[in-house]
């Protein structure tokens, strides 16, 4: 299965700033996904990163707050913009074939906002 590397693994940021999280895959993949996981809660899909087109965002998530890039089939970034303490969470990227098929995850970025 694909090996997924996420950077940074953790960060502590000041409110009002932005952080870009990188997700690198060791092979070309069709679909990349970004999730948020808050303590004790389920993974919530933020968006699907599409190569060559805009990301598809889930209800409650907007491009201005979570801009996503997908320049090629092995790389994607998620930016958390204008951060507030409510954005403190774990952000995970994953890859898969979509349509409810199994996904493979990176180890996540643990983000704390002061």
């Amino acid at each position: 299965s694909a090996v997924i590397s996420q950077k940074p693994s953790r960060d502590i940021c000041q409110r009002g700033t932005s952080l870009t999280i990188q997700c690198q895959v060791d092979s070309q993949v069709t679909m990349m996904f970004w999730y948020r996981q808050q303590p004790g809660q389920s993974l919530t899909l933020i968006a699907t990163a599409n190569q060559g087109s805009e990301a598809t965002y889930e209800s409650g998530f907007v491009i201005d707050k979570f801009p996503i890039s997908r320049p090629n089939l092995t790389f994607s970034t998620l930016t958390v913009s204008n951060m507030s303490p409510e954005d403190s969470s774990i952000y995970l990227c994953s890859v898969g074939d979509g349509g409810g098929q199994p996904q493979h995850f990176g180890d996540g970025t643990r983000l704390s906002i002061l």
Binding site: G40, L43, P102, D107, G108
Partner: protein
């Protein structure tokens, strides 16, 4: 409303016993149901997928059942070991926002004691 429910209380069992975790869902008609393992500080790792027309699936010490009438899946670990201690997530392919996506439960933490 659509829900996926896993027991939020941790499951504590003795080494060697069988652990049984439950996943119930409401207002979904999944074609697949999946189970993942998540260790602290790591991303979820895919374990097993069972299709709607399969009653049971096995992989080594793992067994998954899928009852579409009861809208329930059971996940069993036989001869459990302390190394099996982790959070186990169920996920199903659900239609939300007009297309199929993977939707996760919040997980159940399993602690296997020597």
């Amino acid at each position: 409303s659509q829900k996926i429910e896993q027991n939020s209380e941790a499951l504590n069992i003795q080494e060697g016993k069988t652990a049984t975790l439950t996943c119930n869902y409401t207002n979904y008609s999944p074609a697949y149901l999946q189970w993942y393992r998540q260790d602290p500080g790591r991303g979820p790792v895919f374990l097993l997928l069972i299709r709607e027309n399969e009653k049971e699936k096995r992989k080594e010490r793992l067994k998954v059942t899928f009852d579409t009438t009861l809208k329930q899946s059971l996940f069993h670990i036989t001869a459990s070991q302390p190394a099996d201690s982790a959070t186990y997530l169920c996920a199903l392919d659900g239609v939300s926002g007009g297309y199929n996506k993977l939707i996760f439960g919040a997980g159940t933490r399993l602690a296997v004691h020597p």
